[in-house]
């Protein structure tokens, strides 16, 4: 009796082992969370010091359209308006997403609905390859092919939002496509069967049933592409021209948050206003990344509720 009791009250070997495993995974997770939180803290505290230490007003920073860190304007306030970069980032992101979405969805439809065999044999490897190409290569190609091409057609320097959009379009296309493929793949077979069995044609079935059922997944794919475009630095910096001016058209040099960051970060001294405003730009990037993340989750939840 006593023996049985102690057997049940004492921790068994298996239980100890389980606890050990649990502790290890908890430590790993805690470490990752700690790293993320410290990065967040570092970036945000640095980014905020523009406003707290250097006394720049948030409005001036977000909506000011003159970016000349180190100089002061007529009223004595530093000229650190980030609007040109913010607009530049949004322009290239939205334009490249608008351009890439139809191509990505069409490619996904081809791979899943029209010719799964060719899709798997030819398109899939091509897409995987495109994902693996380093961004500096995309930028280099953009610089040697797209920029002169735009220059020949529209005149000017060839650098600008249009060139950046083209480069980003190619860069995000594989991401969006492979996620769109997953979205179409997840549409249950019986939806297609039900539509076909009612005399719907293949196109009607794709258009009215498959794409509809896959809409949340397709939206998530587009948002992921946008997140990638928004955060891309090197390739964009190589072709956009990096003039911190509010963009008025698509073919004059402009800049994005990331391109200004990569251009300037080596040329400033820690703790100065010039350095701090770069951290403020980084904070905007961080907030946007968070926003994209929340957006995909929200879409996923909405889609799940519908099902």
């Amino acid at each position: 009796m006593e023996e049985t009791q102690s057997k049940f009250t004492q921790k068994s070997q298996k239980r100890k082992f389980e606890q050990f495993g649990r502790t290890i995974s908890f430590i790993c997770i805690a470490f990752i969370v700690l790293v993320v939180l410290s990065i967040l803290y570092f970036v945000i505290s640095k980014g905020l010091s523009t406003f707290t230490t250097d006394g720049v007003s948030v409005i001036d920073f977000l909506f000011g359209n003159t970016w000349r860190p180190g100089e002061v304007g007529e009223n004595g306030a530093p000229l650190v308006g980030a609007l040109p970069m913010i607009l530049g980032s949004f322009y290239v992101t939205l334009l490249s997403a608008v351009l890439a979405t139809p191509f990505a969805i069409a490619a996904a439809i081809y791979m899943i609905e029209i010719s799964p065999k060719n899709g798997k044999k030819i398109l899939q490897p091509v897409i995987e390859l495109l994902v693996g190409i380093p961004s500096v290569v995309y930028g280099f190609i953009g610089l040697t092919v797209i920029v002169p091409f735009i220059r020949n057609i529209f005149g000017g320097t060839g650098f600008g939002i249009l060139s950046a959009t083209m480069v980003l379009f190619v860069m995000i296309l594989p991401t969006v496509t492979s996620m769109a493929v997953d979205a179409l793949n997840a549409v249950p077979r019986h939806y297609r069967e039900a539509s076909l069995a009612m005399g719907g044609t293949r196109w009607q079935t794709i258009y009215k049933v498959v794409l509809r059922a896959a809409t949340p997944g397709l939206l998530t794919a587009v948002v992921f592409g946008m997140a990638r475009a928004f955060g891309e630095a090197l390739a964009v910096q190589m072709v956009i021209g990096n003039a911190a001016l509010v963009p008025t058209d698509l073919i004059t040099p402009a800049s994005t948050l990331t391109s200004i960051l990569t251009m300037s970060m080596g040329n400033t001294v820690m703790g100065t206003l010039e350095n701090n405003v770069l951290w403020s730009l980084a904070t905007i990037l961080l907030v946007m990344a968070l926003f994209f993340n929340i957006l995909t989750r929200w879409i996923g939840k909405k889609g799940a509720m519908k099902k």
């Binding site: 069967e193 039900a194 076909l196 009612m198 719907g200 059922a213």
Partner: protein
């Protein structure tokens, strides 16, 4: 009078022959049940009647299937029209992830009905015919996936009826449902035979004997016996049929 005649039909999936020399007459405005153990070819045959087997890679058919005397496997057959005339209800309730209204209106819209009033009428009539109008008439904009499985299956029947088919194929329509929903569907099917010719695959022999007028017993890709349901269940001609319906195997 036969609505569908199947004459000496063979069917292969790749190298595997799934149906051997099948011949069967399916009479108009009556219920024909296909029974038999799993893998005996009954679902294969029902899917051949609206050419859903076309979607299966490597599927090859010999012999004739005549609908109103016309060969449906002729090269000039319009498959979309055929499937409009020969509707189908699946084993798992499979409404689209949209509102009840849009589910029912899907078929008519696909076939070119645009007028809102006409669609309203079709939706109401189909739901009434499928005996579910009273349960869902206030929730037509509700997502069809939010209602119970039994209701979903009747929505699927209504959806199939909405394109005004002549034949209704039902591939084990109650196997995923509870007994009460099953009873409702069976009752509905008996009412529907006044307007439609019904072919029903079932695993459930009691169901076949309760509902159907004619029965075909399948085994290993052959039709062993077919004929009047009552006769077959009380006095089977073949030993295998007797063994199966008395529950000795299957």
């Amino acid at each position: 009078m036969s609505k569908i005649s199947i004459k000496d039909m063979n069917l292969w999936y790749g190298d595997f022959q799934a149906l051997h020399g099948v011949s069967l007459e399916i009479p108009q405005n009556e219920i024909t049940a296909f029974i038999g153990p799993s893998g005996c070819g009954k679902s294969t045959l029902i899917k051949s009647l609206n050419r859903m087997n076309d979607l299966v890679e490597g599927c090859r058919i010999e012999g004739d299937i005549l609908l109103d005397g016309k060969d449906i496997y002729k090269s000039n057959t319009n498959v979309n029209t055929l499937r409009k005339d020969v509707g189908m209800v699946f084993q798992q309730p499979n409404p689209f992830p949209m509102s009840i209204y849009n589910n029912i209106a899907y078929g008519p819209r696909t076939h070119g009905v645009k007028d809102k009033k006409e669609l309203d009428e079709i939706v109401e009539k189909s739901l009434r015919d499928a005996a579910i109008w009273d349960e869902v008439k206030d929730d037509l904009n509700k997502n069809a996936l939010s209602i119970s499985g039994g209701q979903q299956q009747r929505i699927c029947i209504a959806r199939a009826l909405a394109v005004q088919p002549e034949v209704l194929l039902m591939d084990e329509p109650t196997s995923a449902l509870d007994p009460i929903s099953t009873a409702k569907i069976e009752e509905l099917v008996t009412e529907l035979k006044e307007k439609y010719t019904i072919v029903m695959v079932t695993h459930n022999m009691q169901q076949a004997s309760r509902v159907s007028d004619h029965t075909a017993f399948f085994f290993n890709g052959y039709i062993i016996e077919s004929g009047d349901t009552r006769k077959m269940f009380t006095n089977p001609k073949k030993k295998q049929t007797e063994d199966y319906i008395s529950g000795r195997f299957g």
